[in-house]
């Protein structure tokens, strides 16, 4: 019985692949015990489910794979988490105020709750649904900006929260498909770039300000992470599939062929070898010589545009000065050999390619930017589950502090954010 609480499951329904991870956690940490993966083959377009029937087939397939690998632990899962994207995701900055009423005007945990909860009560349209929220920062007495208001003196505390919301019907699809596949729980939803943040960012990067870009197959998501919270985030429904599609249109080639040469490194090899032409046999007997330069020009134009759009979107909100740790590029598209260079040219920021990491053990078979999101979802579920457990065992405040001390300070705020989610 005790064991049932220690299994968690993460699901990602991506444009290129459907992936299921089963994890087991204990006092020491998290380990991956089962992984299932199938190609989406058209079931997801631009991050959203296009065909429910095809999707359910793929999902059941992936779940079974993971279940077998984990030794049939899936049904013992205490929590399911699923990454969501597309869905017209948007974000806003919510503000909530609490008046500090005790005599000392000392800010207590309860005051912070109140402010955070108020911040989350935002007038969303009826067709919108809140997905995640993060405390961005606090204002003491309306002027002084702080990220750690606890025990400070002030008469009012204003919490500014980054609220991510999406179209509720479209989000409902993600929950529906899981319940169709036989998952009885209401899954926890997490916006993909937020999951990436848990999956690939180091503590330092979480703290000091990082632009996270997940260049996926169907969509490109971005998030500005600072002080363990998200300052801004968004999704662009253009992804690496567009690069393949552009090549297919521009050079009159089959799309599968374009995907193949992008993914298996043929193009990277030819460019490295300074080859002038790429020779392909489209018809028997006839050899077609396509300049390598043409491939690169088409791909460059598209990738450059994606970064330009992100830059423009973020530029409006002037986050560029807060990015002390530069940028982390992740997602399948980050593996393409030109991506980082183009990013450097467009945004003039240092960038690294983010891969799933774990302080204890790097999970086997997940050492690729492709798995950032799914691993992030699992870590998110893990942190959430820890929180659940501690709440179950202890009273809220003291239990929380115990857990925090076990983790190190960097996760303190993250946990607090999670806590605020649960009080929701």
């Amino acid at each position: 019985m005790f064991k049932t609480h220690n299994i968690i499951t993460a699901v990602e329904l991506g444009t290129s692949k459907v992936c299921v991870l089963i994890g087991e956690y204990s006092e020491e940490g998290l380990s991956v015990i089962g992984k299932g993966e199938t190609d989406s083959s058209g079931a997801v377009v631009k991050g959203e489910i296009a065909s429910m029937d095809l999707m359910i087939e793929k999902l059941i397939d992936a779940i079974e794979q993971a279940d077998i690998q984990s030794g049939h632990e899936l049904n013992n899962s205490s929590m399911f988490a699923v990454a969501v994207t597309g869905c017209d995701m948007d974000s806003l900055l919510g503000e909530g105020t609490a008046f500090i009423q005790n005599e000392e005007r000392r800010i207590s945990e309860e005051d912070i709750y109140e402010a955070v909860n108020n911040a989350k009560v935002q007038p969303l349209n009826v067709d919108r649904r809140l997905v995640n929220s993060f405390d961005a920062y606090y204002l003491l007495d309306g002027i002084r900006r702080s990220s750690q208001p606890l025990n400070q003196r002030a008469s009012t505390l204003k919490a500014c929260s980054h609220i991510i919301h999406g179209n509720s019907n479209r989000l409902e699809n993600f929950a529906a498909i899981l319940s169709d596949a036989g998952v009885d729980y209401e899954p926890e939803m997490i916006f993909s770039p937020v999951a990436d943040m848990f999956g690939v960012l180091s503590e330092d990067e979480l703290e000091s300000g990082t632009l996270l870009i997940d260049f996926g197959a169907g969509t490109t998501e971005y998030a500005v992470v600072c002080n363990n919270g998200v300052l801004a985030s968004g999704v662009l429904t253009i992804g690496f599939e567009h690069v393949a599609n552009d090549l297919a249109i521009g050079l009159n080639l089959p799309i599968d062929f374009c995907r193949k040469i992008l993914e298996d490194g043929t193009l990277a090899r030819l460019t490295r070898e300074n080859a002038v032409h790429f020779e392909c046999r489209t018809k028997p007997g006839a050899v077609r010589k396509i300049p390598v330069e043409s491939f690169n020009r088409i791909a460059d134009a598209r990738i450059r545009e994606i970064f330009e759009i992100i830059r423009q979107k973020l530029g409006k909100e002037s986050f560029w000065n807060n990015l002390a740790s530069g940028c982390v590029l992740t997602g399948g598209g980050a593996e393409f050999f030109r991506t980082r260079e183009i990013f450097n040219q467009v945004c003039d920021l240092p960038a690294r390619i983010g891969k799933p990491f774990d302080a204890n053990n790097v999970p086997v078979g997940l050492e690729s930017p492709r798995y950032s999101t799914i691993f992030g979802v699992l870590r998110y579920a893990y942190l959430l589950a820890l929180q659940n457990d501690s709440r179950r065992k202890n009273s809220l405040g003291s239990g929380l502090r115990d857990k925090i001390s076990g983790f190190g300070d960097a996760f303190a705020r993250t946990l607090k954010n999670l806590r605020s989610k649960m009080t929701n």
Partner: protein, 396 residues
């Protein structure tokens, strides 16, 4: 005898900053010996930088008013400056049988001055060919507009105007090419192109393609030209022809073999040394001939220059009419007049006039029929290179 000498005098005139640079490059090419080369500019410092040119060949226009500071992108200033130098121009032109004007449109001196030179050449009945670089798209809308207007104005004044898009350079040069190299290459290519055109037009060709042919193709029609020059320099003559052909296709201003395919008219000229045999000429020209599309008008020229030795020069000028531009206007005009003249109305009805929009492939491929990604009214599912009109060589 006097007449013969006059015929062989070719004047190459570099106009403005870009023109001067090209002319300087040209003067350093060995093939340019025997050509009269001079540079006209309103900017003293730009002229001073042309260190390889003889001082006598450099003319600073309208020093009195512009003080050698350049026309500053003002075409009116350029026009006035060149008009003031018409005396010098006249004396130069009087000893010339063919005038080639080189320059870059979009600035003041070349854009404004070209018309003056062209008019002068016409009154003195000196055949003139104008070769102009059109600005890179990134140089901004205003510059491109100025260049476009300038080209438009020139069409009325000159029969042979060729505009070459600098953007074509991007389509062939690898992205790693340094900026300086790209410009140097552009200058060399334009210089070679000028020599190629001269080769085509010089009297004494064995297979004739003369100025009449060229102006017949270009007259009153706005067109874009892509010029490719292939030089074959192998020891064996058979190889040099093949090398020239492949060099021609790789030539940066030509924009790849695709450009030849879609051209409306192509001028091909082959110049070789004494060693060139009939079969070589036949094979090379047949090969070059097969590159343009079926509907294209093709002019062929071949020439022997003993001093070339085993070298072979193959020049192709691919001309594409700009049909969006109604300058030719004849079709539109018939439609207008038909309203007044009842008799011709039935005729006009037989040939309905419809303005065609430029055909661009605007498909979104696998995303066709899916929820579009539209930002600021632009459908981002359509490939970026299509929307930004980046030329792509498909290798087909």
């Amino acid at each position: 005898m006097d007449n013969m000498q006059k015929i062989n005098k070719v004047l190459i005139l570099g106009l403005g900053g870009a023109g001067g640079r090209v002319v300087q490059t040209l003067s350093s090419l060995p093939e340019a010996s025997g050509l009269v080369i001079c540079a006209f500019d309103t900017d003293r410092s730009a002229l001073d930088r042309l260190t390889q040119l003889d001082e006598n060949c450099k003319v600073l226009c309208d020093e009195q008013w512009l003080l050698g500071q350049g026309a500053g992108g003002d075409t009116m200033k350029g026009q006035r400056a060149l008009s003031r130098e018409s005396g010098k121009l006249q004396s130069l032109l009087s000893q010339t049988s063919l005038l080639v004007v080189l320059g870059g449109l979009g600035g003041g001196t070349a854009t404004g001055g070209a018309g003056v030179i062209s008019r002068l050449a016409r009154t003195m009945s000196v055949p003139a060919v104008m070769l102009f670089e059109l600005p890179f798209a990134f140089e901004g809308h205003v510059r491109c507009k100025t260049a476009d207007d300038g080209l438009h104005g020139l069409l009325a004044l000159s029969d042979t105007v060729l505009g070459i898009h600098n953007d074509l350079l991007f389509s062939v040069l690898p992205a790693e090419t340094s900026f300086a190299d790209a410009f140097r290459l552009a200058d060399i290519e334009l210089a070679r192109a000028a020599l190629g055109v001269i080769d085509v037009l010089l009297p004494g060709n064995m297979l004739a393609a003369d100025l009449g042919d060229l102006s017949g193709i270009l007259r009153n029609r706005k067109s874009q030209a892509a010029i490719g020059v292939g030089i074959g320099a192998e020891d064996c003559v058979a190889d040099s022809c093949t090398a020239a052909l492949s060099n021609l296709v790789d030539s940066p201003f030509l924009g790849g073999a695709a450009k030849l395919k879609e051209a409306d008219a192509v001028i091909i000229n082959l110049t070789g040394g004494d060693a060139m045999t009939l079969s070589e000429v036949k094979r090379t020209l047949e090969h070059a001939n097969s590159m343009p599309g079926m509907a294209a008008q093709i002019l062929i020229g071949a020439n022997i220059k003993p001093e070339l030795g085993t070298h072979v020069h193959l020049t192709a000028v691919a001309i594409k009419y700009d049909d969006r531009d109604p300058l030719a206007g004849s079709a539109v005009e018939t439609a207008k007049t038909s309203v007044h003249r009842r008799k011709s109305r039935s005729k006009a009805l037989e040939q309905p006039v419809q303005q065609t929009l430029p055909l661009t492939i605007a498909t979104s491929g696998i995303f066709e029929g899916k929820t579009g990604t539209v930002i600021d009214g632009i459908n981002l599912d359509i490939p970026t290179f299509v929307r930004r009109q980046i030329p792509i060589d498909t290798g087909e």
